[in-house]
Every structure is written in C-alpha cells, then in structure tokens.
Symmetry: C2
Subunit: 723 residues, 2 copies
Amino acid sequence: MLLRGRPRALGAAALLLLLLIGFFLFGGDPDCELGSEREARRGGGDPGSIPGSPTPRVPPDGRPRSRGTAAFDVDPPADPGGHNSSDCLPPPPPPPKCELLQVAIVCAGHNSSRDVITLVKSLLFYRKNPLHLHLVTDAVARNILETLFHTWMVPAVQISFYDADELKPQVSWIPNKHYSGLYGLMKLVLPSALPPDLARVIVLDTDVTFASNIAELWALFAHFSDKQAIGLVENQSDWYLGNLWKNHRPWPALGRGFNTGVILLRLDRLRQAGWEQMWKLTAKRELLTLPATSLADQDIFNAIIKEHPWLVQPLPCMWNVQLSDHTLAERCYSEASDLKVIHWNSPKKLHVKNKHVESFRNLYLTFLEYNGNLLRRELFGCPCPPPPGAEQLQQALAQLEEQDACLEFRQQQLAVHRVHITFLPHKPPPPQPHDVTLVAQLSMERLQMLEALCRHWPGPMSLALYLTDAEAQQFLRFVETSAVLSARQDVAYHVVYREGSLYPINQLRNVALAQALTPYVFLSDIDFLPAYSLYSYLRASIEQLELGGKRKAALVVPAFETLHYRFSFPSSKAELLTLLDAGSLYTFRYHEWPQGHAPTDYARWREAQAPYRVQWAADYEPYVVVPRDCPRYDPRFVGFGWNKVAHIIELDAQEYELLVLPEAFTIHLPHAPSLDIIRFRSNPTYRDCVQALKDDFHQDLSRHYGAAALKYLTALQQPQGPV
Amino acid sequence: MLLRGRPRALGAAALLLLLLIGFFLFGGDPDCELGSEREARRGGGDPGSIPGSPTPRVPPDGRPRSRGTAAFDVDPPADPGGHNSSDCLPPPPPPPKCELLQVAIVCAGHNSSRDVITLVKSLLFYRKNPLHLHLVTDAVARNILETLFHTWMVPAVQISFYDADELKPQVSWIPNKHYSGLYGLMKLVLPSALPPDLARVIVLDTDVTFASNIAELWALFAHFSDKQAIGLVENQSDWYLGNLWKNHRPWPALGRGFNTGVILLRLDRLRQAGWEQMWKLTAKRELLTLPATSLADQDIFNAIIKEHPWLVQPLPCMWNVQLSDHTLAERCYSEASDLKVIHWNSPKKLHVKNKHVESFRNLYLTFLEYNGNLLRRELFGCPCPPPPGAEQLQQALAQLEEQDACLEFRQQQLAVHRVHITFLPHKPPPPQPHDVTLVAQLSMERLQMLEALCRHWPGPMSLALYLTDAEAQQFLRFVETSAVLSARQDVAYHVVYREGSLYPINQLRNVALAQALTPYVFLSDIDFLPAYSLYSYLRASIEQLELGGKRKAALVVPAFETLHYRFSFPSSKAELLTLLDAGSLYTFRYHEWPQGHAPTDYARWREAQAPYRVQWAADYEPYVVVPRDCPRYDPRFVGFGWNKVAHIIELDAQEYELLVLPEAFTIHLPHAPSLDIIRFRSNPTYRDCVQALKDDFHQDLSRHYGAAALKYLTALQQPQGPV
C-alpha cells in the first residue's frame, strides 16, 4: 500500500509543482503572451507548424505569405489555460549586479553624433550595470564623442573607439541605396573589428531609444541555444514580404524578416562559424541578381538568416518597437505592458505619421532634453574605476569649506562642463595662412545676435554656447528655421552644458578658442557687431604686418557702442566718426568704464592712417586679433568682472605688442544687463569674491613672471575697480 | 519493475522540480538576498529566532537591542545554497496590465504642493497603470493642485480631493513636535476619510521620489497574510532604539520600528479591525507618559504595531530608502541592484549630509526639472476615459492643416499650458475696496526686472511666468537668494509651463489677471517701472473717481521710455518732464510706433491737473487700470503683435471710458528685442499670420458688437500696421 500509494502521491506532488512552475514562470507576465516570440518560434501562423521548434521554420517557398500579419499579432491564446514553455520563455534572471555589459554603435558625422548621445542618455538613465561602449566612428564623430565623454565623466562607463574609415574597404564594394550609406553596412564587420576576446555585444542603431534597463536585454543571451549567435526582433512592416508595391523586390528573408536596429551578437560563435566568409558569400551571391542593398546591413543579415536559420534567436517584439512608415508595431505595443526599446526607423524619424507617435515622441524628448549631468550617478556597490580626473575633482570639492563666502565661485571654477563640440554640421575653412576666426560665447538670451553677426562677419566663427540640454534643442530649431544661419557651414557651434549658478565666461571662451581652426583668432564678444569690412581688412592687415613670423602682436579692434537697438550701421570709418560726433555712437563704455579702452587712444585712432603701438595700462580690455596659439583665458574668472582684463595682462606679460588697427572697428549693441552684472552691482560679497580672484591672479602672475609682473601689481594699488 | 521504477523516477523528478523552483524563484534576484524582509520576519538577529514565522517576533523586553544594526544589514547568507521561502519572497507578479492603482497623499500649503508635484512626476514617469490619486489637501494646496491637474491633462490619472481642514479635529488633540505639523498626523484617519469601498491604497509622504514602477510596490499586497493590513519598510536609523542621545525617549516600536513615508494599507481590513478606536486608544495611552509625538503619525503607527504585530507586513528596504540624518540606508542600497523609492526624510531634505547624496539628488533633480508635458503619454491598450477636454483638443488639432502657413500660430493657440498658480508662498492682501494688483507676465530673460519692480510697486502683484520646469527651479532659487523678493508675500507668481514656439502672451496675461485678488488691476508689462507713488496714487484716484460703482472706466497710466539701462528714475511728474525736455526720456515708442500711445495726448497730460477723457483711435495700446472683472485678453494673439491693441478695442467696445490720470506715469527700460519681435520684423509669413489673426479678431468683433464695431473696421482700412 505504502509503496503503491507513494507513486501516486509523488505523481500528484509533481503535477502540483508543474502547475506551480507554470503559474510562476509564465502566468504572471502578460508580455509573455505576446505573439512575437511564440510565433516567430513557430515559424508561421499556420496551424500545422511545429510548436516548440527551436529555430524558425523555413516555409517551402522561402517567402511564407501565409504568415501574413500574424507573426507579431497577438493571437487569442489557443490554449488559454497553459502556456507551453517553448512558446513563451520567461524573462531570464537579470545579469549579476555589477556585470559589465558590452554595447556597440556605428556613428558617423555631426547629426548621428547628436542622435547617439540621446540614445546613450536613455541607456544610462535606466542602466544599473557598468557599460562598455564600443563606438565605430568616422573622424568627425570621434572628435565630438571623445570630447563629450571625456567631459561627461559618467561613472562605470568605458568607451572604446574604432576607426570606421579603416573598416570601409571591407564593405565599400557593396552597392547600397539606404540613407545610412556605407556606415549602415558596418555592423557586418563587427566580429572582426571588435576585440577578439569580446564574446557578446549588443549592437544598436543610433535611432533607437531605451525605455528600460539594458540588462534585461542582455539577459536574453541566456535564451540562445548552443548554436544561435544573433538575437533579433522580427520586422514590424511588410517590406520583406515584397508586396508593398508593384515590382517591389526585397532581399530574401524569413517571412517578414528581422530588423537589425537592435542585435544581440555572440561574436565568439560568429567568428567560429566563419562569419566573414559567410556574409560575404551571401552578399555576393545575392548581388548577382539584386542591384544593391535597400536596407543596408539588414538585407544581408536577413539573407544570411534565410540561409542559416539556426543562427537566429528571435527576441520579444518590445525590444525593437519599429516606428517605420506603415509600421505594424501597434500589434506589439498595445498588448505589451512595457515598451523596452523604440526604434525611429523611418527616414522621417520623429516626423513619422502614426496615431500614437506623440507618446513615443514624448519618451524620445525626455532624453533629448534630459540634463546629462544628472547621469553622473554612481552605481552603488559596484567597484568601478572612476572616470579620469574624477577622483581629483572629488578631492578638490571635498576641500572646499562650506562657510567660505565665495564657495559659489570656487564650486563654479571646479565644475567640469560637458562639451559637445561642433553641435551642428560644420565644414572647416580651407587652410589659408592669414585667415581669422571670430571667437565668442553666448547663452540663449543672445541668440538673436547670431543672424546679424553672420551678416557682419562672412568668415569662419567658433562660438561656445552655454545651454541646458533642452536649450540646445531650441537652439537647433532656431538655426534650422533661420535661412541666414542654415546657409553658413563655416560657423562652428560648441555647446557647453550649464552647471552651477555663475556664468563660466572664460571657460566658454577657451572652448571656442581651442576649436578655432585658422591661424588667427578675433577674440570678440557676442553683443558686438564688427564693421562689414573687418574680416577682409584683418586678413590683409595680418599679411601686411607679417604677423605670425617673429612678430608677436595683438591687433586691437577699437570698440564703440550704440544705445539704440535699431540704428544704421556705419559702412566706413568716416561714417562712424560722423555718428560719433553726432552723439549717436560712443566709444565703448564711455560713460561707465572709460579706462577699459582708454589706452586704445581714440583721439589718435581718428587720425591714424597706419597701425600704431599702444602700451598696456590698468584695466585695459580691448578686443584683439591674435595667433590661435595665444594664451588661454584664466578660467578662475567666473560670473562678471575682470575676465578679459586678466587675459590682456597675460598677453602683455608674454610681450605681445599691442597694435591698434586704423580702419578696424566693432560696435556694441544695447541689451539688458545680465543677471551676473546685476549681482555684481547689488551684492558686496560678490564684489569681494571677484576681488579675491583678482588677488589670486596677481599672486600667480608674480610667481610666474617675477619682477616683470610688478607693474601689474603697482597698477592694482590705484584703487579703481569696475563699478 | 515498471511500478517500482516509477516512484523513484517521480521522486527524482519532483526533487529536480523543487530545485528548479528554488532556482527560478529565489536564486535569480539578488535583491532577494537583502536582509530587510528576511530579518524583519525573523524578528531579530539572534540565531534562536523562529525562521519563517509569519509575523515579526516581539522580543520579551519590547526593545530588542540585540537586533542592533543587523535588521537591514546584509548578512553573509547563513545557508548559501538554498533560500527558505519564508526568508525571502520572490517579487510577486505585477498587477494586470490596466489595473487601477490607488495612491493617497496628504498635502498642505505652497511648498508641499511643489513637492507633491515632483513626487507625482516620478510616479507618472515609471507607471504603466492607470492611477487614482487621493489628495488630502488644505485650501491652498487644493487650489494649486486642482488647477495644475486640470491643465496637465495626463491620460489615465483620476484625482479626488479630500478636505484636510474637515479632518483636523480628528487629530488636533494630539500634541506633535514634528515639522510636518498637524498634517503629518492625517494619515491615521485615511481609513475613514477615503471612500468606504476603497479597499487598498498606497500612502506616500510628499518627500519621496520614485525610481521604479509603482505597480511593483502595489504587487506586494499579494504577500499580505490574511490578517496583515499595513505594509511598511523598517526604519533605517536608530531613532526608535532610543540610544541617540541621553534621555532620548522615543515612542515604543518593534526594534528599529517602521517608517511611514511609504505605506501599503488594506483599508478594508483596518476598518474591520476597528482601526479608529485602535489607534486612538494607543495614542491616548502613550500620551499619558509621553508629552507629544516626535515623528507625527509614525510614532503612533509604531506604537500600534508593537501592540498588534500581526498587522504589519514588512516590505523590502529599497521601497523606502531613507536619507534621514545619520541614515543607515547604505546597508540597503549598496547591495540592492535597484532602488525603488527614495525618501528625503531629513528636515534638511536635499541638503542632508551623506556621501552618496549627490547621486540621489540627481535622481530627484531629474523629476524636479522634468518637462511635465512629456508625461501626457497614453497607456497603450488601456481603455481609460480621456481627461476633460482632451477629446475636443485632439479633434481641434486633427483639423489643422499641415500646409497652413500659420500652422505654428494655430497650434500655439490650441496649446493647453500646465499652470501652477502661487508657485511660491503667498499671502493674499487683506480686502480693501480700492486696492490694485499689478498684473504682468514674463519669462526668464526678464527676471532681473523683478527686484526693481518690487521697489517701485509696494502693493500686490500677480505675475505669470512662462518657464520650463527646470527654469521654474532657477526662478525659485533666484527668489530665495534675493532679499528684496523673499521679503514680499504679496507677490503671487504663477508658473505657466512652456509649450510651443510662440510666446502665448495673452494666455499668460489672462492667468495673471484671473489670479488677481483685489477689486482693481493695473495691466502692465514687465519691462516697465511705475512711478514710486503710483500704487498709492491709483488707490486714491479710484476712490476719488468713485470707480466700481456705476462708472465703467479704464484709467490710463501714461507710458515713457528711457534708452539707458542706468538712469535716475524721476521722483515726480515735474522731474519726469525735465528729463523729457532734456531728451533723456521719450514718450513710449516715440520713434518706432507713436500711434500706440498718441491718443493719451502727452501735450495735454503735461498741463493736466485732473483726469481727462480720451477717445479710442486705431492701434491705441495704453497701460490701464480696470476692475478685476474686465474683459479677458484675446488668447488667439500669440507671439508678437496686436495683443494689447485688441484688448483695448474690447474695452472700448464694452464702453469703458478712457481716463488719463494726470500724475500717473510708468517708464519702459531698454532691453534687446525678443526673438518674437525679431521674427515679426524679418519674416513676412509671420507678419501675414498676425494680419490673419487681426482679420479673424475683427470678424468676431463685428459678429459680437454689430454696427458698433464698424469704427474699428474703418480704422483698420487705413493701412498702418506695426513695423
């Protein structure tokens, strides 16, 4: 009895356990009911397909129209009570807490660089694991992204760059009609381009946005069978069904095929399987009958998968919700409780038509406008090497005293601003020996100066913009809607992201200065409009004066000001003098701060026919043209006060001649005082702090130049600080 | 053989299944290893405690110091191979896709209202379920939050308000020393205050921030045993251990006690258990020996739990990571792979000292600065009634034609801006029959006007600020650091959140106007400074002219302008006239747009000793004082142009007398032209669209006023639009 009873009891217990497992593993997750994975694994919607088949079934004709739209439709569960484990895998356990996840992205050019940053922001927002980003970039993107990540200082993120131009020959033989161009094909060469010891990687297009933790995606590697090497989400359009229009002849694919915007790659297995030969053979064979790829790498991936279906592990549809034109993605997202990754794979991108696009766009805008500084969050409990410089920064910040009245200044000086150089497409000027770049910095409230500046200065410019992430997007739209600005490719805009309460004026100037590509720079301010002729006059003067050889000089551009917003800009020095005499123009800050420009000697300038040398005097802050390798601005000066004065002292200390140009002029336009100037005027502590900066500066000056710096200290004794 | 073999095979299968279950259920989740729940369930760190006991064990002395800090420490697993199911429950399955989740929050006053919005933003960001928010508010918070949610229009969010003042008597007898005051105690009365059919609710403090989907928290209700009614996270400080300082005598609690910043409440069970009597009895009894509650409701909750330990279901520590002073939370968050809820439960809030506070602060700032408009995301596949007005809005937007050259204008007109009235603490002015509120609107770039305006206008103001969420925080800091601004309680700041590319000037004016609380309003612009005496002079004039009775009048305040940022403001009309004659001042827009103020008749004003009546003429746009119930501004005028002109026409059409005040004046300060004015000047399409708005306006005017509106149309025939 006992023996006979036990098997029954055990059998019942086992059944109960099976039911329990069924409930816990598959009953709880409504996403599990999504057709994508189940159907893809079934290999077709036809009832005769083999349930539980580990690889997609290849229908006999290779283009299984019978699957129709069912592939990622949500079928009413055929068997509502029980889910078969091969139909629907449970979400695998997340990777261990501090496991390093590997991500590869191909990125080229200015616009893609902006896109990839938004993608990375979404990634970082949800991630809980250390990440290693493998970026395959052209020179432009590398330049941008290297600066950005260096200044971003996100903990637990490693970056490696790979030269896309070196990889080009491997794919450039493939004719391709896709808008992504040659770079679109580069995902094919990742197994050989990435380090040989890298076994797994998630490959992402630049136009995807994460809405969840990438570790959940990484965890899906666990579902791979022994042979599977490529994880992909099925296409959410009918493209590969070949019925979109008459004579539409897509590349071969299994049914709807797969989308390569999000790929899980087992690099080790692909290498073992002879991937390089495999894809090249397939591509060459197909190109015998097809003129070119239409969807770049995706066509080739699909052709390979059609040939070697055992390679692919289908992924749940919500890991690549494709908002292409005529997308069928709604079948996925209206049932899923959770969208994981959104893919803007229409050439129209955010402007794609879709009744739900507004909601997806909101998610995208979230990260587009997200303050990237906030992603400098630690991963608690993960021992990762800090980003370069982070430890020194932490130490310096820790040494600040909370009671210091100038704490705000000290914090601002230590702030490491994220820098996005050449935020918009930019074409470097052709090398010319006497060319000059106008260098300036601004924030949103001076944006309206840009068009006028472009009209006045036809040459190259390097402008640093101090913006929030959201403002950077407003700025982008501003340029796009301005005919004047969008016509200019020689203006480089460098976004320096805001952090802290004081305007880091000299740090901004240094960013713009460092990015100037001509041998000379005109160090201007954004509220000045140069004479129309200044650009060509400066180049002629530089040539004439034989600057750049042994002669170390700063050319002074005399500064004037108007008090009227609308005035007719003088077209010549003669006209300017007439306006000056009529009281419509003044020499700059004539009323408030004459010593700032007094040494320029306006009286002499009136009569001057040739450049004349002037001597430095206290508080002199002219606008000058200097070689690009001139001294940098002193970044300790933040907020209002003394930022240019210190730079001119530095030039003088380094024995730059100060030469005033007789035909050059620039005119300041009126604007409301900045918040910093208001604080300077109204707040004695603020003024004390600026004074402390000046004192520090002079100490450093004496230390550096010794007795030669004495004259600056002496000048300082005569109390006449800015008011 | 067969029969004998089966039991063994079945036994082995069962064992395997058990192991499998063990692995899937408990092996995968590292958070599961956290001590919080396991330890709390054990009831103590002593090895002799009863593993798997369903309720916390009450140590004999009631204050189990032996538990020490172990309660939410991560112990090295005593039994590394297998986890006992009572030690560590798996995360329960999430609630069904569209299940409505219930949340209750107590909120009173201006500052708490700002806090609760940040909390709600974090909630909405991660949520996938419809939510019903039950807000227990005082009148101030209700006014703010009602307007906010009404204009926010978030899909799938229901709001119910409960009057905190009505509930006060139920808790006001309890002496309380906690900074949250009486409102801190109100969570105790939720079972009776919330609707009787509401069975479950998550109760949140206003100082918590979500870092995850609230549905995961809701799912923990599934862990409640039949009797448990309160889900809480253990305290992450030693407060209730009573050893923080000498003679520190906290309320009784189980060990470290529990924190009530996040509560899962089974309201149904509490009602059944006679909650009201229960907590009142306990509180009264404890208050016999203790002078007051120190931590408000939390003291009483803990005392009850100590008495009725079966009531509590301990929750995993990451659902309430407490950043109190001297927090021990690091033990929780350094091991968890995922923080769920952060609780700023120090009186220092974000300024609390903690080596990791920067990372937590970043998460908080994420939602503080998050563009709330982006939370207007649909929940795909959840059939929820749309927010009031949403359908009409959708229809109106759908009717716009993409090819319309003025599409931008039409979209801007339809934009529903989130409005946060009285963003900062505000004391309404005491009712006075002739009092006047200055009404104006501004955006960030005019912030620097506020201090000067406060000096010039000592009376009440109602200002609409057009800001992003991030700018609203900058504005807050700006006010906090300004002695002048923070001294004023009679200035009401209403934040209207930015949306769209055109400045919705008249919508802003209407918000400020609607919130003015005095019988009269001075409709000004932010770049004007009124005469120092204007406030008192206006009140006297209103009284003298017996306005408000039968006399329907608009008092004209003549407008002037200076072209210098810094000038000495005239202290009297005589001084003003001197400056005018000296050419230091001009009548407003004398050079660019004289017709805007010509009817004011400045020549007559020079000599006037008494108010004089003037007649409307085309393009007249004076600054006027009118009764608060005056016509609203026409919201169709967005961007630059004609926005005030239309309002004055409306006043004239409604037969307001236009009376110029002989001693009143206001002076415009210079500023750079706005982006909208620049677009108006440079963009012919923009001007055409403004013209189209004017035409529409006149059509409506004729429809409304018939023949009486003829004069406005006639005036329009003479072409002289603004330049």
